[in-house]
Amino acid sequence: MIGIIVAAHEAYALELVKAAELIAGAQPQVIPISFVPGENQKNLFEKYNAALNSFTDVTGVLFLCDLFGGSPFNAAGLLAAQRVDMDVVTGLNLPMLLGVYEVRSNRQLQEVVKAAILAGIAGVRSLK
């Protein structure tokens, strides 16, 4: 099982995890984290470390962040750059999160990363 930290500006992560729950049901080892005005990187490290400590029996952790270069990504990047069992994917959307839910119970981190990117991109389409 790969643990998932969904991290984004304001309540986006929280609400997106709720939306995904509506579609796929409640999920273990998924933690949404909000970054709100007045906070900085230190607050994010505290929240990330608390989330990491709360995971049990995970073989790796994937951060899904809203914006490349945003604070949630920057802090996650600093943590994940030093660890082989962590990675960060940006461009967070609902199809990405659902795609990750499908595969994360029995796959390696690199495969879940690939699935996140594919599902995130595949969900962006036009009607015509």
Binding site: E39, N40, Q41, N43, G69, G70, S71
Partner: protein, 163 residues
Amino acid sequence: MEIVLARIDDRLIHGQVASTWSRDSGCNHIIVANDGVAQDELRRTLLIQVAPPGVKSHVLSVEKAIHAYQNPKYVNFKTFFLFSSPADAYRMVEGGVALKSINVGGMAFTSGKQQITKAVSVNTEDVNAFKKLHERGIVLEVRQVPSNSKQDLMELLQKEGLL
């Protein structure tokens, strides 16, 4: 070097900066002037990596940033300067960097600081540095993103009884 924007933001390059301010300012280079990050290989690498498309980011010590400003080699730079504190901004000014206006964007609350807006908290050291910048005639305006209306920092400090 032309300075198109100077901002104090302890998050340095992040969402508001990478997505909004860099485009609004028309910069082609972002210079993060910060002694701590300049010595931290991991944070430095990440900040260079997150530069928005078409913009190159640099992480320099305050001293090196002053030298870069004075170097005629960088005449084509439209520079967006980023500092994490007013003290660093004042070091730049003392070093001869002609800042006319500073946008105050983010100074997180930590113990010993007083919150003056949702995103800006200050301690005595910050207030002293802001006073010195103000005495030099530099405009100090508080805004998160360009579309917010500007709030005068000195007025906010006055209102909070910090002057």
